[in-house]
């Protein structure tokens, strides 16, 4: 299965980059949660300095290559592009991919390892986007960062939770190697809470960054739910990443329950991998879906069926216990019906990690949603040496938000340890509106209108 968007050719990248107006204090920078200086990197592509463009990107966002693929650019940088309202916005995501792929393909190192080490050691729990973002920034600031990752590979959902047609795991694994090349130590297969306690980390390290993400399974809580044929959509997507595609179990009639982007990924993947029928059932109306509109359109284009206002009441099984379908009740009409299926994928959200968090750091303040209470500008938690970011703190946002939060926490950890502010990547300043003076997109991302 190929990535859905073909990469730009050199010629197309040149033509598109030359279309950029090179806005001053550009809206795309403000819309990027890592504050990438988009006009600057695009200008560099236009002048043939592709490696230098990648440096601009990766300095602001170490996961620039995966964000170029998985970011919902339509509601971020491209949604903010001033050319978008009556013409085509610049394809910022594709240009970012062009630049980051270039340095990966040619093995060019654009980021420098600092020569002076601070001697400070920071433990990072979780090797997903937030952890990698934090570790990369800490390493570049001269600190020793150690990531504890429970899986066999770091990268988190980027490595095993993104639809294959959007991004191959290779991209994420290349990024993990990039982070390691900065001097970050990654210990895989370490389950903090079992192999190591929170107390041990706090005593051995100068600071701890908690980036454990969300759990993998939620349940419907209806009759006959537990049994063959039913699994989480994230596990299904993970199989696609980790197994030969022909070995991934795909039903003849796949039913996905959920209305978010993971549900859309799962139903599209199932159809694209050959399921004769793939249906998405969502308990509310289409307008209430949290999936992006363009993602829904993509699934429709792949001939996925969708039913709405479908409240699941019972999983239907045959006498042998095999999955036969799901009984729904229509929320407006009250009508009941059975959607037949032989594979049911649940994409009804990832559970919060409050129990694991309490086990790790009993005194850590958890909010009503089950997330770590943090200051969004610094990643500080209720405990002085502990910082947090990513899904376990924000409840589940984009990869780019996680990277930005990791980076901000790294800067704050640096300030705490050294007493000196970490100078953020220089970004355009803004005038007239009272907001932080630099890195506007990093500190205070603005969402483009209409979303």
């Amino acid at each position: 299965m190929e990535e859905i968007h073909a990469p730009l050719s050199d010629q197309a990248a040149l033509a598109e980059s030359q279309r950029c107006l090179y806005c001053y204090d550009a809206p795309c920078i403000h819309a990027c949660p890592t504050g990438i200086d988009v006009p600057t990197f695009i200008k560099k592509i236009a002048t043939g300095e592709v490696a230098s463009a990648a440096k601009t990107i990766l300095t602001a966002n170490i996961l620039g290559a995966s964000c170029a693929r998985v970011c919902p650019t339509e509601v971020l940088c491209e949604g903010a592009c001033v050319l978008g309202h009556d013409h085509e916005p610049i394809p910022i995501g594709l240009l970012q991919r062009h630049a980051t792929d270039f340095v990966t393909a040619h093995g060019i190192s654009v980021l420098k390892r600092p020569t002076e080490k601070s001697g400070f050691r920071v433990a990072i729990i979780g090797g997903g986007p937030a952890g990698l973002g934090c570790a990369a920034e800490l390493a570049q600031l001269g600190h020793h960062a150690v990531i504890f990752e429970k899986e066999s590979n770091a990268g988190g959902l980027n490595t095993r939770g993104v639809a294959y047609y959007k991004m191959k795991p290779r991209v994420s694994l290349d990024e993990v190697r990039l982070v390691e090349s900065l001097g970050v130590e990654i210990q895989t297969g370490v389950n903090v809470g079992e192999d190591l306690t929170g107390e041990e980390l706090l005593s051995e390290y100068d600071a701890v960054f908690v980036a454990i993400g969300l759990g993998s399974e939620s349940h419907l809580g209806i009759a006959s739910e537990y049994g063959p044929g039913v699994r989480s959509a994230l596990d299904f997507i993970r199989d696609i990443h980790e197994m030969p595609l022909e070995e991934v179990e795909i039903g003849k009639s796949v039913l996905v329950i959920g209305g978010g982007n993971t549900a859309i990924d799962a139903v599209s993947q199932a159809k694209r991998l050959g399921a004769p029928s793939a249906t998405l059932a969502y308990r509310r109306k289409e307008v209430d879906m949290s999936a992006y509109t363009f993602e829904v359109a993509l699934a429709r284009a792949a001939e996925c069926r969708m039913v709405f206002e479908a409240k699941p009441v019972e999983v239907v099984r045959d006498v042998e216990g095999n999955l036969a379908g799901v009984k729904f009740i229509h929320s407006s009409s009250g009508k009941e019906w059975i959607e037949p299926c032989d594979q049911l994928l649940l994409a009804i959200g990832q559970p919060k990690q409050d129990s694991l968090l309490k086990k790790l750091f009993p005194a850590l303040e958890i909010d009503a949603r089950g997330c770590v209470t943090t200051d969004p500008l610094t990643g500080r938690t209720s405990l002085p040496k502990i910082f947090s970011g990513g899904d376990c703190a924000n409840g589940g946002k984009e990869v780019v938000n996680a990277v930005g939060e990791g980076k901000k926490a790294a800067m704050e950890i640096h300030r705490m340890l050294t007493g000196k502010p970490a100078t953020p990547t220089k970004q355009s300043s803004r005038q007239g509106i009272t907001r932080p003076p630099s890195g506007a997109g990093l500190w205070n991302p603005i969402r483009p209108p209409n979303h």
């Binding site: 279309r19 090179y22 806005c23 001053y24 204090d25 001033v82 009556d86």
Partner: protein, 438 residues
């Protein structure tokens, strides 16, 4: 509907659009295609002693996605024999009697000039253009711009030509000279009937940063080429206007230099040209571009209720004055239409770093400006501080949205006063010195 036909120094042409002497006018085949496309006249590629050429010959300036914004060449005059050229001229004139057919000539001695003129007249051409402008190769052999840069020599050769020519003679001027009117006057003194300008400008378009040889590349070396194309239009317009305004000159002018469409052509006419000549735009896009030129000029003349291009010729010439005669009390300021502003802030940064620091970025909410079509919520908007605006135009030039930044005239309480009037009043003690800008 306007009648586009013109008479230029006695040469009749169904429209003012001619092809300039160059690669597109090298053969009868091309001339035939050009006339089929609708061109009113052709100036044949310069005939003289056939000369070998080199490879490569052309190079160009590229600006972003626009290729051939400027173009240069090191190709010389026709590499075909005068016999072949005159035979084909005769065929073409026979086939297209209503079009203007001009032979461009370049040679050295008086005898040779006489010979070429006689053969041209025998071929039935409508006129001659003397190539005193080619700035590469031929000038090293004492011809082309070597002639045009020396008014006495240009006058002398023109007078040789006039001894035998019965058809109108146009002298083509080189821009590689300090005062173009000196060259125009020399042509007139020599007896020429008209001038055409500009020929190409000596140039280097680009340097290859790997082998350090500029383009066009010829076996590890290059040479200075003649520059033309859209980028040279402002220089050409200036020189055409200089000649049109020169009271001692007064002959018809054929305008050349960066013309690619009817608007360019109309500007040359407005600054004093009667016909215009095109080369680079045809080398880029082919003869077909003349259709837009004909339709566009015709529609434009209709919209201005002009019946002929003659009514347009020279219309803008008198408004060109010396700087010292411009009104110091005229005030204009930039005004930004926030309903069309897309929020690129290019006006702000241009003014801030490159002009007079009078465009602020302000909060669209507290200022009540609100949001335009593409601007993001919470993002500052550019606002002109009119009291500090000097009316320089820069913001309106960089703005990517047509009509978004307009330059608005501010009625002045002061009567018009030019620099020369100011100096005279100042010396009489009638007026206090204008204070220096803070």
């Amino acid at each position: 509907m306007a009648d586009l036909s013109v008479t230029f120094a006695g040469i009749r042409s169904p429209n003012p659009f001619w092809l300039a002497s160059g690669p597109p006018t090298n053969t009868a085949y091309q001339a035939h295609r050009a006339f089929e496309a609708g061109w009113g006249g052709i100036v044949w590629k310069t005939i003289g002693d056939p000369t070998p050429n080199v490879a490569s010959r052309y190079s160009a300036l590229r600006l972003g996605n626009k290729r051939m914004v400027g173009f240069n060449n090191i190709e010389l005059i026709s590499d075909r024999s005068p016999e072949t050229n005159f035979r084909e001229l005769k065929e073409i004139k026979h086939r297209w009697p209503d079009r203007a057919l001009i032979a461009s000539l370049m040679t050295d001695t008086r005898e040779h000039w006489h010979d070429l003129i006689r053969r041209g007249e025998d071929a039935g051409v409508d006129g001659f253009e003397l190539n005193f402008g080619c700035p590469h190769g031929m000038c090293e052999r004492g011809m082309g711009s070597a002639v045009g840069q020396n008014p006495d020599v240009a006058e002398k050769i023109t007078s040789w030509v006039m001894e035998v020519a019965s058809k109108p003679v146009i002298v083509k001027l080189t821009p590689n000279i300090t005062d173009i009117t000196q060259a125009a006057r020399a042509a007139k003194r020599g007896g020429a009937n008209a001038i055409s300008l500009i020929n190409t400008i000596r140039s280097i378009t680009q340097v290859n940063l790997d082998n350090f040889v500029p383009e066009p590349y010829v076996d590890g070396a290059s040479t200075h080429g003649g520059y033309c194309g859209p980028a040279v239009k402002p220089i050409a317009l200036n020189m055409v206007q200089n000649c049109a305004q020169d009271s001692e000159f007064g002959l018809p002018i054929s305008g050349i230099g960066g013309i690619s469409n009817w608007r360019d052509a109309a500007e040359f006419l407005a600054l004093g040209a009667t016909t215009i000549q095109v080369c680079t735009a045809v080398m880029h896009h082919g003869f077909r571009i003349v259709e837009d030129m004909i339709d566009g000029l015709s529609a434009y003349l209709d919209s201005k209720s002009m019946e002929s291009p003659r009514e347009l010729v020279g219309r803008a010439v008198p408004s060109l004055r010396k700087w010292e005669d411009l009104n110091l009390n005229f005030k204009r300021v930039a005004r930004i239409d926030h309903d069309t502003c897309i929020g690129c802030n290019l006006c702000h940064i241009a003014c801030e770093d490159g002009a007079h620091q009078c465009i602020d970025l302000l909060d669209p909410e507290t200022t009540g400006i609100g949001y335009g079509p593409g601007r993001m919520l919470g993002k500052a908007a550019p606002v002109v501080r009119e009291e500090d605006c000097v009316g320089c135009n820069l913001c309106s030039l960089v703005c990517p949205v047509d009509g978004c930044v307009s330059m608005v005239e501010i009625p002045s309480k002061e009567a018009p006063m030019s620099w020369s009037q100011y100096q005279s009043r100042l010396s009489k003690g009638d007026i206090a010195p204008i204070p220096a800008h803070p």
